[in-house]
C-alpha cells in the first residue's frame, strides 16, 4: 500500500501551515492476536500511515477491518494478547516499539490524546467528569491542585461545555450525550497533546449532537492539533479528514486525499462503501451490488395489493403514553401521536433518542396499551381489543428489532426460531415447517444450510435476515421495523435495505420504519413522521419533509446531517 501523502489542495488546507512536520509514522505495522488455544490471528497487515502536524487523517472501514486495533497500537494499548510488529513506528522520530510501560504512560495523555466512542461507557460512570479531567493532569504531574482545578474548567470551556463548574461535578450519566462526549474529549486534550486519536468519536450520538462534537474536533484542528480519526462513517470523515485510508480485513486498500478518495475512489471496496450510503439521492435505487434474490414465490399476498377504499391497515389516533420512572414520577413519553399506514406503503418515523419513537413502535404492536387514544387495524380495535382478538391480529403485524440477537431465544437454533413462527402463522404448515423455513431463508438471501446454526455464530447481517424471515413467516400485512438496520455496517445495511424493498415489492407488505438515521428514512419511506420529545412535529411525504422542512426541529436535524458531496460522487460514478 502506498504511504499517505497529503498534497491535494482542499479548501481547509489554507488555514494550516503548508507542510507540517512529521509527527507520527507507521511502516509495515502488523498486529496479531493470540487466542486462548495459542493460535494467532493476523488482524492488522502491513499498515503504513503518516501524520503530519496540523493534519487530520482518517481510518475508514467496517467492523473487523482492524482500524481500531491500528489506532490502539499507536498508543501501546493493543492489549495483553496482542503482538505488535512494524518496520518502523515512530513518534516524532522516537520509536514506539519495545517501550516500557512507564515510558508509554508519559506519552499517553500528554503527547497523544485518545478519545473513544460513547462517553457514557468511556468515562468512569461513578466519578464526576471533572475528576476524570483532573486525573489526566495530575497523572502527568501538571500544576498545583488549584491550577488543575482551573485548568479543568478552562478545558471544559474550550470544548464548548457551558456552566463548567456545574458540569465538572456531574457524572457522565447526569450529562446529555453531547456534553459528556465533550467532557471525554476534554479529558483527552487537557494537556494539549499534539496528536489526538479519535476512535469513532461520534458513533452512537444523535445527529444534532454529532454535529456539535464534529464542531469541537474541527476547532481542535484549527488550533493546530493533529488528529487521527477512526470511523465507519464516510460522511463524518468527509467533514474533517485531509486524507483517508480505507481499511478492509486488516489491510489498507486505498489511501489518498479525502476529495480524491471520496470523489474518485480507485478500489472497488471504497466504491461499494460510498454507494451503500442511503440518502435522498438513492431513493428507488439499489444500494448493494447483489441483485434481488427471490427464488420462491412462497405465498400470495394475503390480500390483493390495493383496495383503494379500505380502511388504513394501521391507524393511530392521538395516542398518549406515559411511564412511571424509578423515582416514582410519571413521565409522558408519547404525547398525542396520530398516523395512518396504508397497504404497501412505508411510513418512516424519525427522531432522536428520547423522542418516543420506540414507544410508538411498541404501541403499534399492541405491546403497550396507550393511556389514551387508540390504534386500529383495518378499522378494527387493536390496541384496545380483547386478548383473543389481539392474538388473531398479531399474526398480521410482525416486527424486526435493532438487535435481532436479543430477540432470539438463546436456546434456539435458526430452524426452531422459524418453524415456531411458521407453525404459529398457520398450524397446517407444521408438517413441512422445516421445508418452509428453508424456503424463507432463501427468500431473505440465506441458504438451508443456515437452518442448523446458532444465531450467536452468525454475522449481524445474517441475523437480521433471519429476523426478517421470521417476520414474514406469518405472512403479515404490516412489519414494524424498529431501528432494524441501525446496528449494521453500511454495506450490510445496504443489502438489508435492498432486501426489504424487494420484499415490499413482491409481498405488498407495509412498513412502519423507525430510525434515527435520516438518510435511511429518506431512502425507504413514502411518508415521514418526525418526532421530538413525544410529539409528532411534522408529517408529510418524504420529499416534502427532506426538501421543504417546515418545522424548525426538522430543519435543525437536516442541517446537522453530515453529507458527502453527492453531486460530485454521482458524477464520479457516472464517469466510471
Amino acid at each position: 500500500m502506498t504511504t499517505t501523502e497529503i498534497e491535494s489542495p482542499d479548501s481547509k488546507i489554507e488555514t494550516f501551515p503548508p507542510a507540517g512536520k512529521k509527527l507520527l509514522e507507521a511502516r509495515g505495522l502488523n498486529v496479531w492476536f493470540t487466542g486462548q488455544n495459542g493460535e494467532r490471528k493476523h488482524v492488522v497487515k502491513g499498515v503504513d500511515l503518516e501524520l503530519r502536524a496540523g493534519k487530520c487523517i482518517a481510518l475508514v472501514g467496517e467492523s473487523g477491518s482492524g482500524k481500531s486495533v491500528t489506532a490502539r497500537s499507536l498508543v501501546g494499548l493493543a492489549g495483553d494478547n496482542a503482538i505488535v510488529a512494524a518496520d518502523a513506528l515512530e513518534l516524532e522520530g522516537e520509536t514506539l516499539l519495545g517501550r516500557s510501560d512507564s515510558w508509554w504512560r508519559r506519552v499517553r495523555g500528554s503527547r497523544i490524546g485518545f478519545i473513544l466512542q460513547d462517553a457514557l461507557v468511556s468515562l468512569d460512570p461513578l466519578r464526576p467528569v471533572g475528576r476524570e479531567i483532573n486525573e489526566a493532569l495530575s497523572l502527568h504531574g501538571w500544576g498545583t491542585r488549584q491550577m488543575r482545578r482551573d485548568k479543568v474548567l478552562q478545558t471544559l470551556t474550550e470544548v464548548g461545555v457551558p456552566e463548567p463548574e456545574l458540569r465538572a461535578r456531574q457524572r457522565p450519566g447526569e450529562l446529555s450525550g453531547g456534553l459528556r462526549q465533550r467532557a471525554l474529549i476534554a479529558s483527552a486534550i487537557a494537556l494539549h497533546p499534539d496528536i489526538v486519536i479519535a476512535d469513532e468519536p461520534t458513533t452512537a450520538l444523535d445527529v444534532t449532537v454529532q454535529a456539535q462534537v464534529l464542531g469541537v474536533l474541527k476547532q481542535m484542528l484549527a488550533r493546530g492539533t493533529s488528529v487521527i480519526l477512526i470511523s465507519h462513517d464516510l460522511a463524518v470523515v468527509a467533514k474533517l479528514a485531509d486524507a483517508i485510508l480505507v481499511m478492509q480485513d486488516g489491510e489498507i486498500v486505498e489511501a489518498g486525499p479525502s476529495s480524491q478518495v471520496l470523489s474518485r475512489p480507485q478500489h472497488p471496496y471504497t466504491q461499494q462503501l460510498i454507494d451503500a450510503i442511503p440518502s435522498e439521492h438513492t431513493k428507488g435505487t439499489r444500494l448493494s451490488a447483489n441483485d434481488g434474490v427471490f427464488t420462491h414465490q412462497l405465498f400470495a399476498p394475503s390480500a390483493s395489493p390495493l383496495f383503494l377504499h379500505e380502511a388504513p391497515l394501521l391507524e393511530a389516533r392521538n395516542v398518549v403514553k406515559g411511564f412511571k420512572g424509578p423515582d416514582g414520577i410519571r413521565r409522558t413519553v408519547v404525547k398525542g401521536v396520530s398516523f395512518s399506514l396504508g397497504r404497501g406503503e412505508t411510513l418512516g418515523i424519525v427522531g432522536e433518542s428520547g423522542s418516543g419513537k420506540s414507544t410508538v413502535a411498541r404501541i403499534a404492536l399492541s405491546l403497550e396499551t396507550p393511556d389514551s387514544g387508540e390504534v386500529r387495524f383495518l378499522g378494527e380495535a387493536w390496541s384496545h381489543a380483547t386478548p383473543a382478538e389481539q392474538q388473531k391480529i398479531r399474526k398480521r403485524i410482525a416486527v424486526v428489532y435493532q438487535d435481532p440477537l436479543s430477540s432470539f431465544d438463546p436456546r434456539w437454533r435458526v430452524s426452531r426460531i422459524l418453524t415456531d413462527a411458521i407453525t404459529l402463522g398457520d398450524p397446517k404448515h407444521a408438517s413441512r415447517a422445516r421445508n418452509r423455513a428453508a424456503e424463507l431463508l432463501e427468500t431473505v438471501g440465506l441458504t438451508a444450510a443456515h437452518l442448523d446454526q446458532w444465531p450467536l455464530r452468525m454475522s449481524g447481517g445474517q441475523r437480521q435476515r433471519v429476523a426478517i424471515a421470521r417476520a414474514i413467516a406469518t405472512n403479515p400485512e404490516v412489519i414494524v421495523l424498529d431501528e432494524a438496520v441501525s446496528a449494521l455496517d453500511v454495506s450490510v445495511q445496504a443489502q438489508i435495505l435492498d432486501l426489504l424493498s424487494d420484499l415490499q415489492t413482491q409481498l405488498g407488505v407495509s412498513y412502519l420504519f423507525i430510525s434515527h438515521d435520516l438518510g435511511v428514512i429518506h431512502h425507504m419511506s413514502d411518508r415521514v413522521l418526525v418526532m421530538q420529545n413525544g410529539i409528532a412535529v411534522e408529517q408529510g411525504t418524504a420529499d416534502e419533509i427532506f426538501y421543504n422542512p417546515k418545522h424548525s426541529y426538522t430543519q435543525k436535524l437536516l442541517e446537522s446531517l453530515p453529507r458527502l458531496e453527492y453531486a460530485k460522487l454521482r458524477l464520479a460514478a457516472s464517469s466510471r
Partner: protein, 337 residues
C-alpha cells in the same frame, strides 16, 4: 447506534430533575421503609411463634426434665403448676397477643429456661457476637480486596489460581477450620488461648475461622465484577490518559467491583447468627449462637423470638445502611431513591 432499549425513553437530560419534591419523597420513602421493617419483624416473630407451637414437645415437661436431668413423660399433676406459672395453660392466641402486646414497650419477655429477661440476655451476649461477626467481615475484606486486586484481570493463569483459592476457601466447613486452627495454633503452638473468651487474643482464631469462607465468597463476587469492569471502555480511556495498570485497577475498577461485595456483606451480616453458632461452639466463646441453639432445643419461645427479632432488625437496618453505602459507592443510584 444506541437506541434506547429501556422502555422509559424520557431519560432526564441533566441532573437537575427539578420537578421533584424532595421532602415529600423522603418522608414517603422513610415511612415505607419503617412500615416494611415493622412488617418484617412482625412476620418473623409470628412465624417463630407458630413453628415453636407446632414443634412437638411440651414446654413444662422439658422444664421439669431439664432441671432434674431426666427424659420421661410427666403426669398432669406435675405439669399443672408449671403451666400455670408460665401461662402455658392459656389459649395459644392469648399467649401470642400477650407477647406481641409487650413488644412495642420493649418487653421481649422472659426466658423460662434461664429465668431472666430476654433483653438482658441479648444485651449481655450481643457484644461478643457482634465483635466476632464484625471483625470477621473486616478481615474478609482485608483479605479479599488486595487478593482480587492482584489476581483478577491479569491473565488466565493468575486469575484461575486466585479464583481456585477463593473457591476452596468458600468450600471449607467453618467448624472444621475452627477445630484445625484450635488444634494447631492454640493447643499445638500455644500462640493463642485455648479457652474461649472475648479478649483480643481470644477473638483472633474465631475471627479467622469465620472470615475464611466469607473471604472466599467475597473474593468470588468481587472478582467476577472486577473482570467484567476490566473490559469496560473507560478502563481503556483511563489507560490512554496515561494511567498505570495498577492505578486503573485501584482507582477505577475496584470501586465498581466493590458493589457486589457490599451486597454480599449485607447478606453476611444478616446471617451472622447462623455463622457464629458453629464458631462459638468450637471455641467455647460466649455469644448469641449457643444461646439460640439451646433456646430452640428447649422451646424457649421468648428467647428464640428475641434472637429472631434481633436478627431481623439487623437485617432491616443493614439493608438500609447498604442502601446508603450504595449511594456513596455508586452515585448513579442517587437519582433513583
Amino acid at each position: 447506534m444506541a437506541v434506547d432499549s429501556s422502555i422509559i425513553e424520557a431519560v432526564p437530560i441533566s441532573g437537575a430533575n427539578a420537578q421533584r419534591h424532595p421532602a415529600v419523597n423522603i418522608l414517603r420513602t422513610v415511612l415505607l421503609k419503617v412500615g416494611s421493617a415493622i412488617f418484617v419483624l412482625w412476620g418473623a416473630v409470628t412465624i417463630t411463634f407458630i413453628v415453636l407451637m407446632v414443634l412437638p414437645g411440651d414446654r413444662a415437661t422439658i422444664l421439669l426434665n431439664i432441671t432434674s436431668g431426666q427424659t420421661i413423660a410427666r403426669t398432669p399433676e406435675e405439669l399443672a403448676p408449671i403451666n400455670a406459672l408460665y401461662g402455658f395453660d392459656q389459649p395459644i392466641l392469648t399467649q401470642y397477643i400477650h407477647y406481641i402486646a409487650g413488644l412495642p414497650h420493649g418487653d421481649l419477655g422472659t426466658s423460662f429456661e434461664l429465668q431472666r429477661s430476654v433483653a438482658n440476655i441479648i444485651g449481655e451476649q450481643i457484644a461478643p457476637t457482634f465483635t466476632l461477626a464484625g471483625s470477621a467481615l473486616l478481615l474478609a475484606w482485608i483479605f479479599a480486596v488486595p487478593w482480587t486486586l492482584f489476581t483478577a484481570g491479569r491473565g488466565r493463569r493468575i486469575g484461575a489460581f486466585g479464583s481456585a483459592t477463593e473457591t476452596i476457601m468458600a468450600g471449607l466447613p467453618q467448624y472444621w477450620i475452627g477445630i484445625l486452627l484450635l488444634i494447631v495454633f492454640a493447643i499445638g503452638l500455644r500462640w493463642f488461648p485455648v479457652i474461649g473468651g472475648t479478649s483480643f487474643m481470644n477473638t483472633v482464631l474465631p475471627t479467622v475461622t469465620l472470615a475464611v469462607p466469607l473471604a472466599g465468597f467475597l473474593g468470588q463476587s468481587i472478582r467476577s465484577e472486577f473482570d467484567r469492569t476490566m473490559r469496560e471502555p473507560f478502563v481503556l480511556s483511563a489507560r490512554a490518559r496515561g494511567m498505570s495498570g495498577v492505578g486503573v485497577r485501584a482507582r477505577h475498577v475496584l470501586r465498581h467491583a466493590l458493589i457486589p461485595g457490599i451486597t454480599l456483606s449485607g447478606w453476611a451480616i444478616g446471617h451472622l447468627l447462623s455463622g457464629t453458632v458453629l464458631v462459638e461452639t468450637v471455641f467455647a466463646r460466649p455469644g448469641l449462637g449457643a444461646i439460640l441453639v439451646n433456646a430452640v432445643s428447649n422451646k424457649d419461645f421468648a428467647l428464640v423470638s428475641g434472637c429472631v427479632i434481633l436478627n431481623s432488625f439487623l437485617y432491616v437496618v443493614i439493608n438500609l445502611v447498604l442502601d446508603l453505602i450504595y449511594l456513596v459507592v455508586d452515585p448513579r443510584l442517587r437519582g433513583a431513591v
